[in-house]
Amino acid sequence: MSTEVKVPLGSLYIDNLVGSDVDDIILINCMPQNEELAVESAQAVNLTIISTRGAVIDSDAKVEIQENGVKVTAYDESAGGFQTGFSGTATRKASPGSGVNDELWLVIQRTAPWLSQATVYVFVTAHAGAATLSTNYYFNTEDTSIPTIVECLWLTPRRCRVRFSESMNYDSTDPRSPVFFRHFSGGIQVAGASTLWIPGLLDEAWVGLRLDLTGSVYPANNRSRVITAIDLTTGRVTLDVSDGVSLVNDAGIDYDAAGNIARRRALRCTIGALRFVARLADEGTGMEPVTADRIQCAFEPQIISAALPLQGDYPAEYAQAQLVVLELNDDISLGRLYTLHAYNVEDAWGNLATDASLDFCSPMFGYPDNRKRLWDFWETQTQDEDMLGEQQMRRMTVVLQDLINQLWLRADGIDVLLDAWRCPGHLLDFLLHTLGNPFRFPISSEKMKRKLAETLPESFQLVGTVTGIESILNLLLGSDHNFQVVAFWPDDIWVLGVALLGAANSPHTILGPSSAWLRNAYNIEYEGFLWPDELRIVREVAEWMDDATKHLHALVQV
């Protein structure tokens, strides 16, 4: 019978062999080895104790293991071998030509896996004849903690920053990454009770992710469902309809009574791991059935993009890969109960969270809570009658309230369009243009744009002043650099009219200032390191901000 199988060839690298002499008894072939990182949680400790004098290893070898400061005995040959919590093999061997068991090969398997990101010390003691071994080494275990969502910071009603408990897989082509998203628009057909057809390149790895479908005339189709199967041959995607709501066939084409095509609609869908879900079902548990607070409405906006935040747009205490900035297709409802789900996402170490979730109440974005409440417009008797009846009026009222809240927020936002720190992020470029931003260097982050918008009006008043140049540079590039505008005046210049003529040992004989250029030149001194794009910002600021008669001579790192 053939045993041929299709396998990739591995790689084993072998470096030069070196022969040498050592102590009488030594520890060799430790695996994990000293200072090894990311050791697997189930990895056994392998080590070998040898005598290089051909002496038998005494029956008192002992191995102690200390994990995160807690030290226990794993193996003690004089106390019966493997101790509680450990198992493995202890094999005595004779080295080639020895004839006696001058080696002890130990494989120590801890019953429980190593803790996540633990530092593990291994202490080994043994004797062989008169020789004694007492040594230790350490290794670090891999991260095995499951990522969770710990924060959802709303920047605008259409934009939020999600923070995970640890750095995530940020490969946007990997379906297990929270920044993975695929959008399809047009050509999509709902082809059965649980299937739809999507033209384009599909991937079986998307099974388990969520598919958000919109654009159908049938409400049953427009919702988020789990992908249960993908047939690459036919392009059919099967969705989970275990909620009992089947899909309704829809090709995105409407026909008139005569059977002619009346309208073409574009069905759209998004495949990704993140999803906002309104918490209507579990809202107000324990409240009276007729309380008005049990009835809410909350729009479930679709996520249209997920990306890491730009440099400078997040607090320094977080890792960039912990954060994901989400853009939504429409506003989230204000002051409503939601859950953000992240399905089948993994952290940077490959630990999978099948459903990391965070319950939150969407913020009011500064909208006053005591503004007009439509429900209060009804008389108390009318309210009571509705709440004790079908509650249809209450439902309609909260829907209208939600829409009005959003419209009011938009209307109120007009007042802050010229406020550098409250202006909506997508309008910042227009704000800078309105303020007459003279700079053409690319501004990488929203924070930088807001800083520039804030400082521009004052900067216009400080054009031509040292303070103006210094303050705008410190603002844009950080006060850590301590920008200083210093007049350029070479030490070795003989200034005519000043009693320096004839100065001894002067290396040069420049009579000056020989021109207005030298007299009006200045340097910008800074501390630390500046990248080329930052140096460009300094030059452009200097060019525009200095006096018409002045000019930048050099950037000097001090």
Partner: protein, 222 residues
């Protein structure tokens, strides 16, 4: 000689300037296998095959011999898994796809096979017909992932309700010997690439010996 193990000597195999390991001494290291980016090249190999390099050495006066090993386990090694546990399975001889097509194989009710299961070893158990129990080589998987064409003429036609189907995995194991005496062994998990320092105890050898490094392909059956 041209073989999967020696078809790019001095470039990807043998004594090379490795791209995926850092030699401890100088620029060169010896590579058994293949020094290239993942995914590493795939070949048809027999379970149990080995490739080795050996060195005659005068070990007199030495106590230990040290060397560096770094082993890369490809991410796409075949993985052991249970495909079907006591489920319905139809054994077919000579009519797997069409009557009289001459192909032997099995058919499951649902698409549990993977396309990558082709050219791997399938293990069947639980059949009332002893001929159908055992390890068979799977030549290919149908596009609907329900049928497996197996290359073994001994199976018989049966339709059974409680068949367990497993697929064997494979792994690479590195071993060091002095003559035929096993001195060190390394099995590295996929994705965990560490330069490891190993030591051979040669203190009592007292003369000539052959140091052998072997890379072996083994089956994973559990």
């Amino acid at each position: 000689m041209v073989s999967p193990y020696w078809h790019a000597p001095a470039v990807y195999q043998g004594r090379i300037q490795p791209q995926h390991a850092t030699p401890d001494h100088g620029d060169y290291a010896f590579c058994l296998g293949y020094d290239d980016l993942d995914p590493l090249p795939t070949f048809m190999l027999n379970i149990g095959e080995t490739i080795e390099v050996q060195q005659d050495a005068d070990l007199s006066g030495m106590e230990i011999v040290t060397f560096m090993w770094k082993m890369r386990t490809p991410d796409n090694m075949p993985q052991f898994r249970t495909i079907l546990s006591a489920g319905h399975c139809v054994f077919k001889t000579g009519n797997l796809y069409e009557t009289g097509d001459g192909l032997n194989g099995v058919q499951l009710d649902t698409a549990l096979f993977l396309v990558s299961d082709g050219d791997q070893q399938l293990v069947f158990s639980g059949s009332g017909a002893p001929a159908n129990n055992g390890t068979f080589r799977c030549a290919s998987i149908s596009s609907d992932r329900k049928k497996a064409h197996i290359e073994n003429g001994s199976i018989v036609d049966t339709d059974e309700a409680a068949i367990t189907v497993k697929i064997n995995g494979a792994r690479w194991v590195a071993r060091a010997y002095i003559d035929t005496n096993l001195r060190a062994e390394l099995i590295e998990p996929a994705g965990h690439e560490v330069q490891r320092h190993f030591t051979l105890n040669v203190s009592q050898t007292g003369g000539a010996g052959i140091i052998r490094f072997v890379l072996a392909l083994e089956e994973v059956t559990a």
